[in-house]
Symmetry: C3
């Protein structure tokens, strides 16, 4: 594998999930693969789970890992081609990416969307420029429109904990006070649409995701109906795709509570984290027996390790 930016970069998602679960059983079996190989993790935005789990995945594979918070530790990046750089940006992404490709065998990049210009965000300009100019395999650590390591860990978790052959998985919108990216729900949706699950998306009117990611899903504005018989509930806020990046307020009753779990099949509750308690998800859910959010976060290691292993094998 030379690129891991979306589900479309994966030939066989079931095989990748199986690989991750196998690595979970035997994490250190492949340390020869990463010997004297360097993983460079580049952050343009904050990160806890992605940072630590991907770092650990690389170390488990015997790699050296170098972490760079580029805007804080390095130089302010220019992203526009043709720019006359007489302002505040000090280094163009073309040079920054190319140089990092000299120092790392595999690069991971995190860059969030601006949520101002949909076309720009959905063109994945920053992430794609990194890929184009760094010259080495790249793994997305969350880009403007997708978070594929998260989605793979989510699918690993569902595969690991499901009790029926084809579970019902519901992605439900949750309230928030800030405009958040669509990256996690987009990505989760496109992975679930390819997985062997019965997949439903529930959200208030005005929060439809781009159909590029949701083709094949059942979509409803009725949360109660969606949750009926659910085996897994994936809770996540996102801002509107149209009008882009907007939030309307209201819809506080979309926060998941124990009461809403009643008609489910004793559903396991997932969230990518960080989660705002008692806004997106109630304390009673997060501290109760149905939450698997910490277990899910733990699986981030094996998802990252499966991807890095395939990349190392292709070097």
């Amino acid at each position: 594998m030379k690129l891991f930016s979306s589900v479309h970069d994966v030939t066989d998602i079931n095989a990748l999930v199986a690989e991750a679960l196998k690595l979970k059983q035997d994490p250190y079996a492949h340390q020869h693969l990463g010997k004297n190989k360097t993983l460079g993790l580049v952050f343009l935005n904050p990160s806890l789970r992605t940072r630590m789990s991907t770092q650990k995945a690389g170390l488990n594979l015997g790699m050296n890992v170098m972490v760079l918070n580029i805007d804080k530790e390095g130089w302010a990046l220019e992203l526009q081609d043709g720019a006359i750089m007489n302002g505040t940006t000090v280094e163009h992404i073309r040079e920054a990416a190319a140089v990092m490709g000299q120092y790392a065998d595999i690069i991971g990049v995190r860059s969030f969307p601006g949520l101002k210009d949909r076309e720009e965000d959905y063109s994945e300009a920053i992430f794609n420029k990194f890929v184009k100019f760094c010259g080495v395999p790249v793994v997305s650590l969350e880009s403007a429109t997708r978070h594929p390591l998260q989605s793979l860990a989510d699918l690993v978790t569902i595969q690991e904990l499901k009790t029926t052959a084809r579970p019902k998985v519901v992605l439900t919108w949750a309230p928030h006070i800030k405009a958040l990216p669509q990256a996690v729900p987009n990505s989760f949706a496109e992975w679930m649409c390819k997985a062997d699950v019965d997949f439903t998306i529930a959200h208030p009117e005005g929060y439809a995701l781009s159909s590029d990611f949701t083709s094949g899903a059942t979509i409803t504005h009725n949360q109660d109906e969606a949750l009926k018989d659910a085996d897994f509930i994936y809770v996540k806020n996102w801002s509107a795709y149209e009008p882009y990046g907007q939030i309307t307020g209201g819809n506080e009753d979309w926060m998941l509570t124990n009461e809403k779990l009643a008609p489910t099949n004793n559903a396991k509750v997932m969230h990518c984290l960080p989660v705002r308690r008692n806004l997106e998800l109630s304390d009673e859910i997060l501290d109760g027996p149905n939450s698997i959010v910490v277990h899910e976060a733990g699986n981030r290691v094996w998802a990252a390790q499966a991807v890095l292993k395939q990349m190392l094998e292709s070097l």
Copy 2:
């Protein structure tokens, strides 16, 4: 050892000191213990010595070490239970700690007190929540009321350099312009009260430490008297315990000088660092032959390594 938060977590302090001094002679003898084990160091506040010495201690033991400046690189933490997180905090300590416990075999945490609410600080709410929710052994990298790795290194230093069986050790308050925590003096006091030393605390009126930490010590407001025949002088500023977190100004004459060393037993001068020169401690002391502050800082490695070794043995 599953927890290192205070002297009370140590069964035999003399044995732990001996272990540290043995590791100093042979630092790399136990690298099998840490192989494929991960040490996660989490900072909510600045750190130089603790950061570098604990990182080095983990590496000496063959561990992988991941460092996270959580508020700068991760997400702003919510600490209050039951909070409706519709403000500036993005992640609750419950999730943050639990998730880090998925990625690390041992976690170190640094979190300073607010110095506003004594009950809250002395309940060690942040540190204890980390311990409660992360699910793996935790070592304090300085908490609101204690700095046990520092105190252990201090005792190691005294044991290593003492010239009499039972040295006289004096903790003396020093001037400062800011209100500092009581963590270092509290911690030093409770370790010294358990060690085989003659222990005196000297401070101006108004700076009494909590008796929970000083039981067994001689306490005086007369610095000259305290210093008489001292073998080791531990210099440190702290703010008042009552009224909590206050500083009164004045007492500049409490700064240690060479003149004040005259009646001592050619005392060795200690400080946890960082030290404000010519405010807490004079240049002449720090640059003179009696200062052992750098040697003391060097011993931080062996203190941390002794604790981590015992934790690794208990995994």
Copy 3:
């Protein structure tokens, strides 16, 4: 080697360049040298290339590497001797350096000049205090007046890519909007003056470098004349040495373009990076076949590794 602060610390620059090129062919041949040795990289300023390449060089040699952004992660440093530290600085460089020397076998330090006080900057006060007080070998990661790892990588690159025995190398000033240090051009000049090259410096009036660094070079204000028959062109902005740290504006026509390459010997274009596109260097140069800036940045690894190897051998 105990110190790498300038070309004057190198006994035989040709041997050092040869060593770097040999390491490039066989990067992992000396991992026994760095086993259980610690490289401490201390940054008082931003860094991308130096940070990553030196970190990688240490890892290639089997070292443990600890990185500290001291002002952000540690404590605000006091630099003045005799200071009464009752202001904003928390730790004196004397203690900070000495303590880091307890934790690292080799230390790298980056500290930029203030560009206010020439005498202070050119005394290399910060860097020299680190060297004096840390007690272990020190490698400059760019100091107030020099950037020797960059210059060594530059010479490695010229040696590697030259097509004539004694190439013509031109250092040409480039436009900028900010006052930049003279460290890179000073350092490049003093290395080129010692290397087996024909060396010319071109700059507008008012931007003469200190003659301490340029003795032996041909110096001109005529860029066109300088570029004639050039084999390598090193592009770099710097502020005035006299009046110190000033920039006058204008001179935009000094930006290198393809047109200016015509009279050269199909010159290879170098820059230390970061580079401001279309201000210092045109897109057409950077994206064209003559630019070797990324290759040059890649050679930073081997330059650093050659220096660290010699330091490890002298421990």
